[in-house]
């Protein structure tokens, strides 16, 4: 094991503990971190084997190293993340995980005594492929008027297959008449982005 891999694995272990404490959810991470070559098409991946892979160049960059490790660690606690659920609910997984990463990272980084320029973190956020998912989730959250931390930490604890229905139920309990119809229209609109066609 290289020094880079060993250091990253130790950091990932610290993050695992913090994510478990914050979310109250058990991590399924296997404890193995693979260092991917720069030819990989992904910054990082939480595999179905529950190993985590992160590209070597990402691990060498102070800013992206941490955001990627937190993101992948959150997949490891995401409830009932399986292929069937993922295939049709990718935005309900990736959007929720990425936005939760943005919410939690300040707590995690302060606790680990890591200082990263906020402007640099916002640059990374701005260039994420998951921003369309987050935009739709934020429209739903704003309509329901739920506090940001509660909305995402609640969703991550709900089985992936049931997240859309869970949010639908909250709106249906809250709105009646034309407001209820507007809510369903908004949710269906969001699901055109958050869910994948079969």
């Amino acid at each position: 094991m290289t020094a880079l891999q060993m250091a990253a694995q130790q950091d990932l272990e610290k993050i695992r503990q913090m994510i478990e404490d914050i979310t109250g959810l058990p991590s399924r991470w296997s404890g193995t971190l693979n260092v991917d070559p720069v030819s990989s098409v992904a910054w990082g991946v939480k595999h179905w084997s529950c190993n985590i892979s992160i590209r070597e160049d990402v691990l060498r960059r102070l800013d992206q190293r941490w955001t990627t490790m937190i993101h992948e660690s959150l997949h490891a606690v995401s409830t009932e993340l399986n292929l069937d659920a993922f295939r049709t609910n990718r935005g309900w997984e990736e959007g929720v995980i990425e936005q939760t990463q943005r919410i939690l990272r300040s707590y995690v980084l302060v606790d680990l005594n890591i200082a990263i320029d906020n402007a640099r973190l916002r640059d990374i956020d701005r260039l994420s492929a998951y921003n369309n998912y987050i935009r739709e989730l934020e429209r739903l959250r704003a309509h329901l008027g739920i506090e940001i931390d509660k909305f995402y930490l609640d969703l991550i604890s709900i089985p992936l297959m049931q997240r859309s229905q869970h949010i639908r139920d909250i709106g249906e309990a809250r709105f009646t008449g034309s407001a209820a119809r507007a809510w369903i229209h908004l949710l269906e609109d969001a699901n055109r982005v958050l869910r994948s066609p079969l």
Binding site: V41, A42, W43, H47, F86, R90, E94, S128, A129
Partner: protein, 69 residues
């Protein structure tokens, strides 16, 4: 199409690939794009989802083979 539009088409191809053929095509397109634009953050963030689908489909296929062997 502008470069930005081409990138968005590829991102959508990567995010919504569902069948083995779609995933393979998206993977080839992503590799080709990264040859020309290494470290493109939007493509490399979408890559995570594509790798998860690719691995999931392979696992599903091998389980199916085991169950039917």
């Amino acid at each position: 199409m502008t470069l930005e539009e081409q990138r968005q088409v590829l991102v959508n191809q990567m995010l919504y690939a569902t069948t083995e053929e779609e995933v393979d095509a998206a993977m080839r397109a992503a590799h080709a794009w990264l040859q020309k634009h290494p470290n493109d953050p939007m493509i490399l963030s979408a890559g995570e989802q594509l790798v998860m689908m690719a691995e999931g489909l392979k696992l599903e296929k091998s389980t199916l083979h085991q169950n039917t062997a």
